[in-house]
């Protein structure tokens, strides 16, 4: 039996040894206890397995030690989620959501009283957390949120005070917000005892029309949990709508500053999408290993498939993508304390990891031949599970436009890699040259369109693609330099070569985007009318 004490050793949670032992223990748990096929078939994770994951300490990894957790950084959390996703994506999503979107608001912004009250149970896994922002009319556009939390008169006065002075708990409990609205697609919603929601709270003041993060309990009067959705993938994870019918929530359960929900959300979403990207790296590794196993064993034309050049090249591409996505997710962890860089890098990691996951799984399925289409192999489930990652935690196209816009507003500045005479220096040179090309493209766009560039979403989207590719190349090169091995060098080089080809499409789009805009406009007129 694996116990919480053995899931990680030592006190500095980011030590490589600690992370290695964490991964090994999750691997053992996965091998011995997780039956991904059964979870997928039965559309649920057995309660007993969730309890074992809790005993293992998985639900407390990101929660500070003072509240009973392990106090892992974002990097440590990503390592754990990646390891778990190798075994089962539904469980990795359940745990990942709890560690990221579910508990991060409390950990990062919660008052001391809220943290003391909720975090110990959440760390122990006796309570599971969810996070509900999406609504029927507010998906990609969170400014359209209609759930309201209306303050009573005294609560409104208190909100102004809390910014300057700490109100007493008693006063806070006596004053309440009345929450009304519907949330949809809430991961963990059917399991959770607590859920952080985003609600419009105009009466509490604050910028951006005053949204706030609030903590609701499943047991609060007026909270109703809808039926489980029937999904294409992640079938074992819980996804439900939540209904709030005049739920009375004490003011003390506002997480962070009243009215500052949207700024808090930015940090929370960055954590969430990074943890999700980590899951993509684990699942892609599983797909790669499965494909390697198949092509090594399978004999056709008198040879093992693995000996065919076309197959070798495909395996190399998959391996290079896995290498680079892992590198980029790790690179997010390095900037976790710098809000601007965390935002930018987490977007790149989410987009790149979800798309690479899909590509790797699809290629792995192809290499399995017909058997890849049969549910007995892991491939169909891996493919189904991978599909949502390009949509949730921010649809990729929305994030690409965001990445491009951020780049326009604040071009990324990073010191050049050192270009010495070693083979690693050659990689550095290519990464630096790529940076320069992206910068030149940005300058050319600015010069051509001035401020109107911000209205040209096709250009911004293409720029976003370049940003994501650039960040992935940087991460791959940095990893190759840090590891120093020939194989790391080859993987980074292989990835860079492919990325350059892809980048060319966005640096010099063909047909030019002006043409695309015209054609798209007339197609739209014809189809939509």
């Amino acid at each position: 039996m694996i116990t919480q004490a053995t899931i990680f050793a030592g006190t500095n949670t980011d030590e490589p040894d600690v992370l290695r032992s964490l991964t090994q223990n999750i691997d053992r748990f996965g091998r011995e206890r997780i039956d991904a096929k059964a979870i997928d078939r039965e559309h649920r994770i057995p309660r007993e397995l969730l309890r074992e994951a809790a005993v293992l300490g998985l639900f407390g990894l990101s929660i500070p030690e003072e509240h009973g957790g392990a106090g892992f950084s974002l990097s440590g959390v990503c390592t754990a989620i990646a390891a778990l996703a190798r075994w089962d994506r539904s469980l990795a999503t359940t745990v990942g959501l709890h560690l990221g979107l579910g508990t991060r608001p409390l950990v990062a912004f919660g008052s001391a009283a809220l943290r003391e009250r909720y975090l110990p149970d959440l760390a122990a896994g006796s309570k599971i957390a969810a996070f509900a922002t999406t609504e029927p009319a507010a998906g990609s556009d969170l400014s359209a949120i209609r759930t309201t939390a209306t303050a009573t008169a005294t609560a409104t006065e208190m909100a102004t005070e809390t910014a300057t002075a700490t109100a007493t708990n008693e006063l806070a409990e006596a004053n309440a917000l009345i929450v009304r609205g519907d949330k949809i697609y809430v991961t963990n919603g059917g399991l959770a005892s607590v859920v952080t929601i985003t609600a419009s709270t105009p009466s509490l003041g604050g910028a951006r029309r005053g949204h706030s993060l609030l903590l609701l309990e499943r047991e609060d009067k007026g909270v109703d949990v809808g039926p489980e959705e029937s999904k294409l993938g992640l079938r074992g994870s819980s996804t439900v709508p939540l209904y709030f019918d005049d739920v009375r929530v004490p003011m003390s359960r506002v997480i962070g500053e009243p009215g500052k929900g949207m700024s808090h959300l930015e940090h929370v979403l960055a954590w969430g999408r990074t943890a999700m990207a980590a899951g993509c790296t684990g699942a892609a590794r599983t797909a790669l290993m499965s494909a390697v196993e198949y092509v090594t064993a399978r004999v056709q034309f008198g040879k093992r498939l693995a000996e065919l050049d076309v197959v070798k090249a495909q395996v190399a591409k998959m391996a290079a993508l896995c290498f680079s996505m892992e590198a980029l997710v790790s690179a997010v962890g390095l900037v976790a304390d710098d809000p601007d860089r965390l935002l930018r890098r987490s977007i790149s990691a989410k987009v790149f990891a979800s798309e690479s996951d899909w590509t790797v799984v699809d290629m792995a399925l192809q290499l399995h031949g017909g058997s890849g289409f049969i549910e007995e192999t892991p491939m169909p489930m891996l493919l189904r599970d991978a599909r949502i990652t390009r949509i949730f935690e921010g649809a990729n196209d929305v994030l690409l436009v965001h990445a491009g816009t951020i780049e326009i507003a604040q071009p990324d500045t990073r010191p050049d890699f050192v270009e010495d005479a070693s083979p690693r220096g050659a990689l550095a040179q290519q990464a630096n040259a790529f940076h320069r090309r992206v910068r030149e493209k940005l300058e050319a766009l600015k010069a051509a369109h001035g401020l109107r560039l911000l209205r040209r979403h096709l250009d911004i989207h293409a720029l976003g693609r370049l940003v994501v590719l650039r960040d992935a190349c940087d991460a791959a090169v940095a990893r190759a330099i840090a590891e120093g091995s020939d194989s790391a060098h080859s993987l980074a080089q292989f990835f860079l070569d492919g990325a350059q080809v892809e980048a060319k499409m966005h640096l010099e789009p063909c047909p030019p985007l002006e043409g695309v805009r015209t054609i798209a406009g007339s197609v739209y007129a014809e189809v939509v009318g």
Binding site: S143, P202, G206, A207, R208, R209, K260, M262, S263, H402, T405, I406, I408, A409, Q410, K446, G450, L451, R452, L453, L454, R455
Partner: protein, 85 residues
């Protein structure tokens, strides 16, 4: 520019600011800082200026736009451009 024309323009500009900053029109003051008071990060404030450039058909350099940090600054920029046109 006539006084009432200028007033109408202020009103129009404030309306765009309210829409993009998600702050109620009545709560916006000329001295508000885009980032600190209206909660607009650099991306949101650039989008605001771009929306104004579109609405009033203004040619604005990116660098000039990036230097603007207050509601007053936005209004001045727009008026200067419209007068020059």
């Amino acid at each position: 520019m006539e006084a009432n024309q200028s007033h109408n323009l202020d009103e129009k500009i404030l309306r765009v600011i309210a829409e993009l900053s998600l702050v109620r029109l009545a709560d916006i003051k000329p001295t508000d800082r885009l980032r600190e008071d209206l909660g607009m990060d650099s991306v949101a404030s650039m989008e605001l200026l771009s929306a104004l450039a579109e609405e009033f058909d203004l040619e604005v350099e990116m660098e000039e736009a990036m230097a603007i940090t207050t509601v007053d600054g936005v209004m001045e920029m727009a008026k200067k451009r419209l007068l020059a046109a």
